[in-house]
């Protein structure tokens, strides 16, 4: 049947290049580091046939996981990644909500342009946008220079290479991901609903909490997931803006892989990270599907 060709091409591609790799990661997380190419053992020796498989499986174990959970460095990194991502997500929401609200209430002719202006930074390189903040936040950077010239501070602040800088980086980089879903749910709220609320005796600020905010919750939810999930595994931001005491698991995985060349342990780190994120990812998935079904 022809429809299976249409389904088959993207399906097989994603199976091979997205799903299968996870099983390989899982398999290697059960292996041991070795000074070889590839740098882990065991590998399946197909020449030995069934015996090769048997010896392969008998050599797999959960040692790397035991190692990760016994080392406070890893456990701490997971915990602080989740914490930093959660706090940063909250701040992103605080910054994004008024902007999205303002956009949704802007004159209709302006909205498309404003939308584009929100999306534009998202299209420019992530790396460059994070890099831009290095020049602003460092000790002799533009922010300190500005504040000292204004007379607000006399001594330069240390912001770069602290967790604060990581928060700023995440809020800045992920802001469009929060604004867009918020805007699309706020924009759907008919002004007549607020007029009705006011007509029925609710003052504007109360009408906001009683009508606008509850109706924007799907957008809040979507935006938070879109920011939180990738932020937990973020590497570039903590690496460039964070300090040596800013523990984040993406950075740990990176250095485990590139500096220590320990593929089995970095695989185990990735598997555990995936487990940490499995609930928010499933929630996100459900949301996408529901949206699709509602629309089709």
């Amino acid at each position: 049947m022809r429809r299976w060709y249409v389904i088959g091409a993207p399906y097989l591609w994603l199976l091979l290049f997205f799903l299968v790799p996870f099983f390989i990661v899982f398999k290697i997380s059960l292996s041991e580091i070795a000074t070889a190419i590839p740098p882990y053992t065991p590998t399946v020796d197909l020449a030995e046939g069934w015996a090769g498989f048997k010896s392969f499986f008998s050599q797999l174990d959960f040692e790397n996981y035991a190692f990760i959970f016994s080392d406070p460095l890893y456990v701490g990194a997971y915990w602080s990644s989740v914490k930093i991502a959660a706090v940063a997500t909250f701040f992103t929401l605080l910054v994004a909500y008024p902007v999205a609200y303002g956009m949704a209430r802007a004159p209709k002719d302006w909205q498309a342009t404003l939308m584009m202006l929100v999306i534009l930074p998202f299209w420019t390189s992530f790396l460059i946008r994070v890099y831009a903040w290095m020049g602003i936040l460092k000790k002799e950077g533009l922010l300190n220079m500005f504040l000292m010239n204004m007379g607000v501070i006399s001594e330069p602040l240390t912001i770069l290479n602290t967790t604060t800088a990581v928060y700023i980086g995440i809020v800045y980089s992920y802001l469009p991901f929060m604004i867009l879903p918020l805007y699309s749910s706020l924009e759907k709220i008919k002004p007549s609903l607020l007029e009705a609320a006011e007509d029925l005796g609710s003052p504007p600020w109360k009408a906001f909490w009683q009508v606008t905010f509850p109706l924007s919750l799907p957008g809040v939810f979507a935006g938070c997931l879109l920011v939180f999930i990738p932020a937990v595994g973020e590497f570039v931001i903590p690496d460039l803006l964070g300090g040596s005491d800013t523990l984040m698991i993406g950075k740990t995985l990176w250095s485990e892989f590139f500096n220590n060349r320990d593929w089995p342990v970095s695989s185990a780190v990735a598997v555990v990270l995936l487990l940490v994120l499995v609930i928010p990812i499933v929630l996100f998935q459900r949301m996408q599907q529901r949206q699709q079904e509602a629309a089709s």
Partner: protein, 274 residues
Amino acid sequence: MNTRFSWFNVTSIVLGFAFLYIPILLLVIYSFNDSKLVTVWGGWSTKWYEGLLKNDALIDAAGVTVRVALVSATIATILGTLAAIVLIRLGRFRGRTLFSGLVFAPLVMPEVITGLSLLLLFVALGFDRGFWTVTIAHATFSMCFAAVVVQSRLLDFDKSVEEAAMDLGAPPLRTFMEVTLPIIAPAVISAWLLAFTLSLDDLVIASFTTGPGATTLPIKIYSQVRLGVTPEINAISTVMIAFVTVGVLLASYMTKRSSMLREREKRAVDAGAA
């Protein structure tokens, strides 16, 4: 309505956009700084740009990056468009839930996981790492973004237009080529542009999956950025920003035009029905 709050709306929009754009603007401005010190203004100069032109390693990396982006964006757009059609038009089939999971998960998957897992796959398959492994990796994650873009266009276009084509005697493939594709073309083009810039920008996945001779621009920039802020990097960054901005403006012009046409269409129908 809500004129009482317009000062609030305007302020929040202005502050929000200032936050989004000032860092980029500063970066662009300081790329024209004559002084080597990033924070001291030493007058206007284009010497850092001239320096870029002489930096062969950088130009090589830019070449690799653009080639990877061109190929991976094309693969991603084809596969992403097919995926969107599967999700929106083909109804239920066995394995649909898994499929939609596979399409949406890469959107939020931390890049370190995607990068590591793809690298391990390539090693397991015995692929030589280089141009093609980076390209495949980029095609994989950007096809999901492409699928989302095309999907949203497919969602708001009337399925009966396709049915009409079939009713008038066009078999499925002809229907797709003569009716569906022309209608969703703006979305397909912006999907391609999105995939292209995603590939252009990516550092993490490329770092994992690259090999000798396939150093991309972000990898190059990253290795220099770690050493600190320099005017050269500001200059490269500015070039990349300019490149992408032009592309996005072009794409948004096209989608805006087509959505304006659609809007007018709708208004005409409404007027007819009123």
